[in-house]
């Protein structure tokens, strides 16, 4: 049944994106997209590194607090260290002044720009969206973001790009304001994984999928128990129903 849904979803989304002048995204197997699938912890940590060192320059992650990174496998000490690297605007203090202080685990990731206008001015009029819900907020989100990150190409000969735009056939209209964000070896993974563009894209998509649905693994574990319970309950009710109705002639 779930496969059927997945198929229908893919079918519908493929149709939808075809209508808006973008090519359908590459279809990739993600560990978290099977009915009982989970996030690959190593990929989550690598993906977080990519977000922190690359994406975070322009994109916020406002719905995630540092302490939630424990789901990635970080311990409290590591989380404190991560939070400490960020400057958080706080205040006003007793003098009525706003001030910057190092982050604590209870803080959310700070936005890279003070406001939308400031972001647009720096990015040629485009607004780098918050990434907290990017996978959930796009049809076929994981495949779409992965395709977008790995889909930069030289434009076709007859296409004249607008100023400051890059060519990406997976993006609606094909012209995107974000320059190709990932380059070979851009980050140095501590676990020795080679940082190819494909690898980094996969990792960061896994991380962002977690950021979109941090409850995903719990949801499925509880769901499995609920379904098993209801199967037993249905069987019992079926027997009760049959025996109560036995005498109706």
């Amino acid at each position: 049944m779930i496969r059927l849904f997945a198929f229908l979803l893919l079918f519908l989304s493929a149709q939808a994106s075809a209508e808006f002048g973008a090519i359908p995204p590459k279809e990739k197997h993600w560990s978290f997209q099977t009915p009982l699938g989970t996030f690959d912890r190593a990929a989550l940590q690598r993906g977080f590194q990519v977000y922190k060192e690359v994406c975070a320059a322009c994109h916020g992650l406002s719905h995630i607090r540092f302490r939630e990174l424990s789901a990635l496998g970080f311990n409290n000490k590591e989380i404190k260290a991560i939070a400490n690297d960020y400057q958080i605007k706080d205040g006003p203090n007793d003098e009525g002044e706003m001030f910057d202080r190092p982050g604590i685990p209870g803080d959310a990731f700070p936005d890279p720009y003070p406001n939308e206008q400031a972001a647009r001015v720096v990015n040629g009029g485009a607004y780098p969206v918050d990434l907290s819900l990017i996978i959930k907020g796009r049809e076929n989100g994981a495949n779409y973001v992965y395709s977008l990150l790995t889909g930069y190409k030289d434009p076709p000969k007859d296409l004249v790009l607008f100023e400051g735009k890059s060519y990406n056939p997976y993006f609606e209209g094909g012209q995107i304001s974000m320059i190709a964000p990932l380059n070979e070896g851009q980050v140095t993974y501590s676990d020795g994984t080679t940082a190819t563009v494909d690898q980094m894209a996969q990792d960061v998509v896994t991380f962002l999928a977690w950021a979109s649905e941090p409850e995903l693994e719990t949801r499925r574990q509880i769901g499995l128990k609920v379904i098993l319970y209801l199967i037993v309950f249905s069987l019992l009710m079926y027997f009760v129903y049959r025996s109560v109705w036995r005498n109706v002639k």
Partner: protein, 429 residues
Amino acid sequence: MKIQLELGRLMTKRKISTKQQKRPLYDNPVSKWIDKRLPIFTFIRHSLDEYPTPKNLNWLWNGGSLAGITLLIMIISGITLAMHYNPDPADAFNSVERIMRDVNYGWLVRYIHVNGASFFFILVYLHMFRSMYYGSYKSPRELLWIVGVLILLLMMATAFMGYVLPWGQMSFWGAKVITNLFSAIPFVGDSIVHWLLGGNNVAAPTLHRFFALHYLLPFLIVAFVAIHLICLHQFGSNNPSGVEVKKAQDQIPFHPYYTVKDLYGLAIYLLVFSLFVFFAPNFFGEAVNYNPANPLVTPPHIVPEWYFLPFYAILRSIPDKLGGVLGMFGAVSVLFFLPWLDRSKIKSAAYRPMFRPLFWVFILNCIILGWVGAKPPEGWYLIVGRVSTLYYFAHFLVVLPVVGWMERPLTPPASISDHYKQKHKRQKK
């Protein structure tokens, strides 16, 4: 297994008869004292234990109790959500995300509420199609049907306003498109839109009042469900044979026969519901609604939730704005007149050889309308939509009266008991 048989034996021990002796339901003096002043126990006994029900009801008759339970699930999950939701445009979207991420099991409550809405409509549409197939709206149950249509209207208003609350892109633009429809009304249209929105645009006053009304309307639905039940209990349920009750053997007490059948149905229903809540919670939703509302960016396709798609298709098929609005509301309003548009005296489609295939054509036509509603209104979609819209109204205004007049119906069984015996024999073979 032994326990199960024992349980069954205990439950079937009573005689299957609606004429039960007036045995005291309670020996407890406190219960007696209460019942004399507030006959609550008598009422429960009257409406469950002694309520006689046709014995040949099929699984489609589970829909009503399931819809009632879903209404309860919606109210309980909804009140829980309201404790954490903030109806302010600056914070509404974020407060929903806080429910999803920070509130204990908030994701569960919200996904139950979100999928519950879709399941509510699935059940109610099935419930209505069942009434259409078995002619349940015919005399003496016309008011029962009309109250049902009123419930559908209330549900639509509630669902529409509820969809605006998460304040995503589709929430905002859906609200804008639908409220703007009222501007088509001559002379007072713009004033009505202004009054609905609390201003010139979908903004803070709109969100606040939609939240207030979204909280209010479900309780009105509860009241109408009570009226629906009073109407139902007046003549009892219709049944698949469409023949009214003639003798005592036609009926069995609601409890325990239909309480266990409803419980079994509920178990299966919850199983399917849980598959969606836990494993495909956003199946019915639009991804674009997980982007915060932005009044400056129109989404490429504005589509309502799936349960409004057939009506949306009718709206867009009529080339005139006012005509479209009238068509959309007419599509629901025509249902009020259904008991008098269908001229046939025979209730069940099983004995109506001309009506039966046309019923399935009508269902197919509704599905086509839903499919067209999800597509952009251009090219072939527009043509198919127009033909389907025309047929939708023709079914009620032309097909039903004419078929009722022309048709030579088959002879229905003499009684419910005969129908039950026939069915039982067929199953045994």
